[in-house]
């Protein structure tokens, strides 16, 4: 009976991890970490975008929390790219590691800008310049460092 339960647990773990990998097809764990970080950034930006477009009601606390989260994720970006990991599914360009200082500066700038946007946010009107800054920050990196 114990052996059957163990088998079932292993099967669940195996299937969940397979599903997780199958979700993106990424095999390299470091690349997966990078992708998850980017995904979290997108999810937080999406909340702000929805508020700006009035698809969800504006909530000052939630907006601030999303901006701070984006700031934290931006600050952590260089650390998840520290290792030069590659995967067939990765869209990162090798130039990231050739210009790592610039890559770090861009990430830190986005972190500073979003933190300051969170500090100054008082109403929905402030979201527009905040989101514009996020777009510029993301684009600055993506245009140079992403396939």
């Amino acid at each position: 009976m114990v052996s059957l339960t163990l088998k079932f647990i292993f099967m669940v773990i195996f299937l969940s991890s397979t599903l997780l990998l199958a979700h993106t097809g990424v095999k390299n764990e470091d690349v997966m970490k990078r992708m998850n970080l980017m995904k979290s950034m997108a999810e937080n930006s999406k909340i702000l975008g929805k508020m700006l477009k009035k698809k969800i009601p504006f909530n000052l606390e939630q907006a601030k929390s999303s901006l701070i989260e984006i700031s934290k994720l931006s600050r952590s970006t260089p650390s998840v790219f520290d290792k030069m990991a590659m995967d067939p599914k990765s869209e990162s360009k090798m130039i990231i590691w050739e210009e790592f200082d610039n890559f770090r500066d861009l990430s830190n700038k986005l972190a500073d800008d979003t933190f300051s946007a969170a500090k100054n946010l008082s109403d929905v009107e402030d979201l527009k310049p905040a989101l514009k800054n996020i777009a510029l920050g993301c684009k600055g990196c993506h245009s140079r460092y992403r396939e």
Binding site: A42, E43, E91, A135, H142, S143, E147
Partner: protein, 291 residues
């Protein structure tokens, strides 16, 4: 007996060879071009800049990673089955760019894919799309072009495999794939923006083994010539974005999931974001109506 057979073979094959050479020479002959009459054209610099942005010349012709979007130094590489194309310097340098050209040279390069020396350009330069560009727009673009800076970096040579490295053969390519189908942009500006200026199909439509666009799978995605991976399909069946989402992407770079545009497309979006809302709406209209 052997000599008789040899003579007979020569007698038959030599005329055929000569005919083949004549036919090849005739069909691959670059067009005889006439100078363009400028007397009726009045330049509009603002429109010239808009045409420049919509045509995305800088997306391929700035040097790799350059922050100056108006310095058309060239040097970006495009890897294809035919070899590697290197975007040339098309800045206003008289020695290394196109600074010594006149308007007719510029017009003929865009309309016919032909150099001032009468050589065919390789179709990595998307003249198959630009040929539909309105004459007035080409003139405005040229006028704007003359305000752009020059750069003295020499152009690099393409690294192509035989027989695709022979420019003359492009004459055959043009017969097969370059259709002189002009249309008036005032009738359908959506199509004009996407097919002529934006030349979206050049990357987003798969190509056949000779590099011609497969029209049956229009905008269904292609191979990425600047790196790994694929250029995604923007056919509405696959894209499934609303008009508002397409317009948002072309304006801010955010996808509906708030992923951010990357790679070459980031430059395209940066250009298109400087066009009017109406133009972005027209581009979205076109993308939504592809069948």
């Amino acid at each position: 007996m052997k000599a008789l057979i040899f003579n007979r073979t020569v007698l038959i094959t030599l005329p055929l060879f000569i005919i083949a050479v004549i036919v090849y020479t005739l069909i691959t002959q670059p067009k005889k071009l006439t100078p363009i009459d400028l007397s009726l054209l009045k330049a509009n610099l603002d429109n010239g800049k808009k045409v420049f942005l919509a045509s995305g010349c800088n997306s391929c012709h700035i040097s790799e990673g350059s922050d100056n979007k108006y310095l058309l130094t060239g040097g970006q590489k495009f890897f294809t089955n035919f070899g590697t194309f290197v975007a040339p310097n098309i800045s206003n340098s008289k020695e290394h760019g196109i600074g010594s050209w006149n308007f007719s040279d510029f017009y003929n390069s865009i309309k016919f894919g032909q150099s001032p020396l009468g050589e065919h350009y390789f179709p990595a330069f998307p003249y198959n799309s630009y040929q539909h560009m309105d004459d007035k727009d080409i003139y405005d673009l040229w006028t704007y072009w003359k305000t752009l800076p020059s750069d003295e970096t020499p152009s690099q040579v393409h690294d192509l495999v035989f027989p695709f490295n022979i420019r003359r053969n492009i004459g055959i390519w043009k017969i097969l794939f370059m259709k002189d189908k002009y249309f008036d942009q005032t009738i359908d500006r959506s199509t004009y923006l996407v097919e002529a200026l934006g030349h979206c199909a050049e990357c987003h439509t798969p190509r056949n083994y000779l590099g011609g666009l497969k029209k049956s799978v229009w905008m269904k995605g292609g191979i990425n010539p600047s790196g790994k991976g694929k250029i995604p399909s923007i056919h509405p069946e696959d894209l499934k974005w609303t008009k508002e989402e397409i317009m948002e992407y072309l304006s801010s770079g955010f996808t509906p999931d708030y992923d951010m545009v990357g790679g070459k497309m980031a430059s395209v979006v940066e250009n298109i974001s400087q066009l009017s809302d109406l133009d972005r709406e027209l581009i979205a209209d076109y993308l939504l109506r592809i069948e």
